[in-house]
Amino acid sequence: MLSPVEQFPVLVVAISLLSAFTILIVGGLNKKSCCFISIATILVQLVMSFYILDHVLTVGTIHYWLGGWAPPWGIEYVVDALNAYVLVILLFLSLISAIYSKRSIEHELPSHKIIPFYTLFQLLVAGMCGVTVTGDIFNMYVFIEIMSIAAYALIASNKIGLKAGFTYLVMGSIGACFFLLGIGFLYSVTGSLNMHDLSLLLPPLYGNRVVQAAFVFFLAGLGIKMAFFPLHTWQPDAYAYAPSAVSVIISAAMSTVSIYAFLRVLFSVYTTQFILIYAPLATAISWLAAIAIIFGAVYALAQYDLKRMLAYSSVMHVGYTMLAVGVCTSTTLGLTPAVMHLLNHALMKGCLFLIAGAYIYKKAELWDIREFRGLGRKMPYTSAAFIFTALAMCEIPPGAGFVSILYLLFAFLDAGQFIFAAVIFFSILLTVFYFFHVIEIMYGRVGVEEEKEPEIDEIPLSMLIPVLLLAALSWIVGAIWLMEIPFPILDAVNSMFGLGVVP
């Protein structure tokens, strides 16, 4: 008999799917209820995810067999430390963006689009949860598609987002095809789709060209999904032109989930052993990531549009994470920096997109950084939150970004990769410059001396509270990471994948 918590993984996905259809039906009766149903569902999911995390850490990995069919024949949901952690992150940020969406979506979308919006929103959350909890690679593909299709539609729900949504649709579908091809290849040589089963069947076949090709397909497919350089081209437009709440969820939660999916394939389907045998692969990933970091930072510096700037900054941060993944086999820290950065980046980038959305909420044309003059005084709390989060993003201690950098750096030194340490430093400087540029304009008073003090014109509380919460968290989390509170999650992840021990 399974304990209730062990049934939560499937419930997390199921209630989200159910609520999507509930919204569709109930929304016809009462439009206002959509948002509340969505928030309530995600809240329940979040509570469940905390229970799951607690269970995973105290009791052990959860295995749930769908329909009672034993794997590898049936679909299995496996929740270990890594996906329990990712589940909490993604649901927390979904909750934040759902709360935030109430006012911002009413403002940005015509009222007849509200019901489909929340339906898709719930489907997106369901898809992300599904990707996270599943232990079956084909099932993962299905959920990735659910997640992506919901995201295409959400991005395009806005008129200006149409083109971006379409580009993403084309790119994303190609990515999905690659992923599916990879699965097909693996199935053809092993006859199995269960991740655990695959990881047992594959090692003797590592020399097989089909298996190797499948890996490259996975890398390409998921590379598109997580906007890993040079496959990021859909991403800046998609992040910039989506409705604000959507920008938040896709930039913070969805990119985390995509990176998670890659980690899962890399370490649970293929294993650490595979990376050690084909070491150039890790090197290639690291170098691509290093280029991504510099490229993202330079392009972010060149943007005049705040949301695009943040989008390129995301390209850079995906680079950070992948760089950490690339060196993980040769350092005693293992995956720690990468796993840590998932949370840190989600919090900080989520907050910054919330703020970008807040500015657009107040004045629809407020895209251009050069028009931000005086915002610091007009929206003092939002702008203060921007400064704090931006400082956390730069290397100002003890913000979350600083801690990530610290760990990354130590990982590189440990791995003897000094060139990557230099890359990181260079990128920090560029980060400082592009955020600083915005802050300077927001608070500078040059040339407007004659104007009187602008009136304070803040966003509504339901938007402001998420902003302030995330801004505070991006510092608190940083401080917590710094302290010597034992992190069972990180250790569990490393020991699970056999990392953290340098031979």
């Binding site: 100002i396 750096l409 130590f410 030194l413 300077e440």
Partner: protein
């Protein structure tokens, strides 16, 4: 290197919390200026009392430790450790903060400056950072306070919010944050090489034991540290300091003569004496390199200073020069040299702050910023100019101000090291000090005001008392330090000599 008795106490933490709490209270009482300013004063006095209360323990050859929390990195705990050297810096900064707070009140209100709440808030945070740097137990904690210091002083630099101020702020940030990156790298590298970043008397053992294979690494690491301490304004990375003089004068006085730049040289001395250690520095030949950089800076900065007409800019270049005295002292790697370097930190602080406060007082009372306009100021502002003259003498190493003592030690250090070159560098630099300080004094006392043809009745018109009293106090202290050297009472000079004695005893075998 004697046995140290370790005392565990929360006093360092409390001392740090004073300005932090004050900062919050200042924000909360932004509508009532009197309440707001009194928070600053109360916090300043409390903080100084707390810092001073640590003196007896340190004099008993003890160190005060306060571990806040251990970090995830094994061997690095976020915490404070007060030793003699840290206490010297903390005493200087916290004592001068009280005086400058009074002065700020006079200055800001006389000039009716805008955004005063922001000003006091950032000031308090900056002091929080400076004291944090002084009391930190290891490099990582120090780095955190270092960055806080950088970020919090930025709004003070751009206080004017004119185009010029904004671009000065940009320069300030560009230099100091880049420095922060180098510092972070150096700290991580140190940790990677040795597994610790604690300040250890006589240097970290593990670093000294790395062996000849790591020689190049250690040299590169040292230069990374040096770049990281760009706050010390050594040449050619000095130009942020004169540019930052666009800030209000109290900021230039406390932050750009004491807190920020001293944090930089403090860091350098920490690296030389407590991370590398004198022996390792000698065997790597880094002391000589450091001394050369410092010597170059001293001479060139002084030549630059002569060319400045703006009083604050001239003082800024003088600061660059004097900071290099400290670096030079550390670079000589001799007992007397390090003693001179350490004692010059508080002494230069007291003297330079007086000079800046005088410059501010002149600006408030007469509106003059340039030296060429200052004819006759000595007659209208006798107290201010007297204070200025005494401390300017001190800067040049002439008694009765305390600059003489530190320079004496430094010269002895140069002799002890057997580097006659640096003795000459010191003497030439001191001579150049005279060259650029005496014209100011001469103009002030012996030239007639511009545009005044005939003799008019000279009326004394000093700056407000809020400004006059602090600058007199700092000037008097500069003399007291000198007198105390002869009398040996110690108490009136805040035990600086004793503390330096202990600090030198700690680091030099």
């Amino acid at each position: 290197m004697m046995e140290e008795s370790i005392v565990y106490s929360y006093r360092p933490l409390l001392a740090i919390l004073c300005p932090a709490t004050a900062a919050i209270l200042i924000l909360l009482s932004s509508k009532r200026p009197n309440v707001r300013e009194s928070w600053t004063i109360i916090a300043g006095i409390l903080q100084f009392a707390l810092v001073a209360s640590m003196i007896p323990t340190i004099l008993n050859e003890g160190v005060i430790k306060c571990t806040f929390f251990p970090t995830m990195f094994e061997g690095i705990a976020f915490g404070f450790k007060v030793d003699a050297f840290g206490l010297i810096f903390a005493l200087t900064a916290s004592f001068l903060w009280i005086l400058v707070s009074f002065y700020s009140i006079g200055y800001m209100r006389s000039l009716k400056e805008h955004a005063q709440t922001r000003y006091y808030f950032c000031f308090a945070i900056a002091i929080f950072g400076a004291i944090g740097v002084a009391l930190s137990a290891n490099l990582l904690s120090m780095f955190i306070f270092f960055e806080i210091l950088t970020v919090s002083t930025y709004p003070l630099v751009i206080h004017d919010q004119s185009k010029e101020a904004i671009s000065a702020g940009r320069k300030y940030f560009a230099y100091l944050l880049t420095a922060g990156v180098f510092l972070l790298f150096a700290i991580m590298m140190t940790y990677y090489l040795t597994g610790t970043t604690d300040f250890t008397n006589g240097g970290i053992k593990a670093l000294a034991e790395l062996g000849p294979a790591y020689k190049l690494t250690m040299v590169i690491l040292f230069f990374c540290f040096l770049l990281g301490f760009m706050k010390a304004a050594w040449m050619p990375f000095h130009s942020w300091l004169p540019t930052a003089m666009i800030a209000p004068t109290p900021v230039s006085a406390l932050l750009h003569a004491v807190a920020v730049v001293k944090a930089g040289v403090f860091g350098i001395v920490r690296i030389v004496c407590y991370i590398y250690g004198v022996d390792l520095m000698t065997s790597l030949g880094l002391g000589l390199a450091l001394a050369c950089i410092a010597g170059f800076t001293m001479i060139v900065a002084n030549l630059f200073a002569i060319a400045q007409d703006n009083l604050k800019k001239r003082l800024a270049y003088s600061t660059i020069n004097q900071l290099s005295y400290i670096i030079l002292g550390a670079g000589l790697l001799t007992t007397e040299g390090i003693r001179g370097a350490m004692i010059h930190i508080p002494f230069h602080g007291f003297m330079k702050i007086t000079l800046f406060l005088c410059a501010g007082a002149i600006m408030v009372a007469t509106g003059k910023k340039n030296i060429s306009e200052m004819g006759g100021v000595g007659k209208t502002m006798p107290v201010t100019m007297l204070a200025f003259t005494i401390t300017a003498f001190g800067m040049c190493g002439i008694p009765p101000a305390c600059g003489f003592i530190s320079k004496w030690f430094l010269c002895q250090g140069a002799l002890q090291a057997g580097e006659i070159v640096f003795l000459f560098v010191l003497l030439i630099a001191s001579f150049l000090d005279v060259v650029y300080f005496f014209p100011i004094i001469h103009t002030a006392f012996f030239k007639k005001p511009e545009g005044v043809a005939e003799e008019v009745e000279v009326r004394v018109k000093e700056a407000p008392l809020f400004m006059l009293v602090p600058l007199s106090i700092t000037a008097i202290f500069s003399v007291i330090f000198f007198l105390d050297f002869i009398l040996g009472l110690n108490i009136i000079s805040m035990y600086f000599y004793k503390l330096v004695e202990i600090a030198v005893g700690n680091v030099v075998p």
